[in-house]
Point group: C2
Chain length 253, copies 2
DNA sequence: TTTTATATGATTGACTTTAATCATATAACT
DNA sequence: AGTTATATGATTAAAGTCAATCATATAAAA
């Protein structure tokens, strides 16, 4: 029998939350948990799936990171190949004993994932990127330090005064930074506070490596980060020829 | 035909890693990815499942947090009811506008999960517990600050000098601490550095609430944390009578 | 109140997944 | 080299899951 609309939506919200807690639920558990038939459970999951809050699997459903790390997860699959290429080059720069900083962003997560598969040890990694930290933690020989700060969930990153202060306590051999745009002038990023933070970190390091995939070439973001002469290394999947024709001259790796 | 043992194990490790990246894989994808039959894929997943590295689902498998937050996840289901009870009492102590610290440990995670479902706002939460931070982040009206420090993955927690320094920058209205044991003398915990840290945090707060489930009653851990008189509030599922007969006299909530 | 729209559970048949068994090739052991 | 142990894929029957359809009760709209 039909049930009031608001009750349905409330149930679906509770379902999304339950799913978030369990990370995965078989269809049957959904039925018993809410005392509904399989058909309704299926319809509920289908609805949540349409809203991209969960992912259906054969026999159940998965909580979506999308629900939590929304924009982050979306971009994650973008130009994946490019990110992998950049990550491989970045890792070639690592030497045992180094202390490195890994920036926010999906490119850095790709770097961390690659590093996880082909570790360089010993290494001290400092980051404000929660997913990077979780990816690298527990690898033997790699010490992970997370900077403190205000948690911005959408980007899964820590920022704010406290983060800047934490960063100031370090000396890095090499910092890897990501950004949103690059052109003949230099590097740009979308948020002022992110740029602030990146400058702080770069100031504490011997060398600074910028990681940008070719898709960032045309794009110009709001906040100016660096002119090219402050960039020690550029890691990109764009060819030298393409870079030249955009008027970019940087030390490629 | 039989294949060398080391190849099997290598494949299973790669599978675990692949799964970790994808969070979920349908059985069929495992087959195509490694070019193996369903039977073998099933056996591989079963093996990883025995090692608690993945969780089998109907039609596929899930990456386990167990693989990463091993001991943490195991304890998570222990005395769940007790933790929920404690969490409910803890949340009753919260008032809009407060700045609170949430400690490491599964009890605090339960608290965070409960808070997520029945939010008190506005609230500033400071923690060194990654799972707590992720649980609470993005809730409207709740600001989450993560302390910096060395990431101890097994406990999913941040510690070390840096963490202590970060904590020293705060003033709390109320801190919630967990511990491993309690007796007539006071509260004990298992690790010296954790205790150190807890003392630092408690020193920065107006009030200190200790959260311990009844299972901790007999247990006595290595490092001494507090005598009872330094505990402002005791949140526990143990009855007053039981506490008395263990010689514990604290302000119950 | 009457009418319309819809949320639900039951039923069905098609399709998938599973666990168990087996033959075989080959790794590991003696 | 000869023997044993086992990792593999194929086959099967049983169980589970799914999408579609339908009758019904009731919420929402008129």
């Amino acid at each position: 029998m039909k049930v009031a609309r608001h009750l349905v939506e409330a149930r679906r919200e509770r379902l999304a939350d339950l799913l978030r807690q369990h990370r995965y639920l078989p269809l049957h558990d959904v039925c018993t948990q809410f005392g509904i038939s399989e058909a309704t459970a299926r319809r509920d999951l289908a609805a949540l799936s349409d809203e991209k809050k969960v992912t259906r699997t054969y026999g159940g459903a998965l909580a979506d990171y999308n629900a939590t790390f929304a924009s982050f997860a979306e971009r994650r699959n973008l130009s994946r190949e490019a990110k992998r290429k950049i990550a491989a080059r970045a890792i070639a720069l690592l030497r045992p004993g180094m202390t490195c900083y890994l920036d926010a962003g999906t490119t850095m997560l790709a770097l961390a994932e690659t590093l996880r598969q082909r570790p360089v040890t010993p290494l001290t990694i400092v980051t404000n990127n929660l997913l990077v930290a979780e990816t690298l933690a527990e690898l033997p020989g790699i010490e992970v330090h997370l900077l403190g700060g205000l948690l911005l969930r959408r980007q899964s990153v820590l920022l704010g005064e406290q983060a800047k202060k934490s960063a100031a306590a370090w000396r890095f051999d090499l910092v890897f930074l990501g950004a949103e745009g690059m052109d003949a002038e230099g590097i740009t990023n979308s948020q002022e506070d992110v740029v602030e933070f990146q400058k702080t970190v770069a100031g504490r390091s011997k060398r600074t490596a910028l990681c940008l995939d070719a898709a960032k070439l045309v794009h110009q973001a709001a906040a100016f980060l660096f002119p090219w002469k402050q960039v020690d290394l550029l890691l990109t999947d764009a060819s030298p020829a393409v870079l030249r024709c955009h008027g970019i001259a940087a030390k490629l790796v």
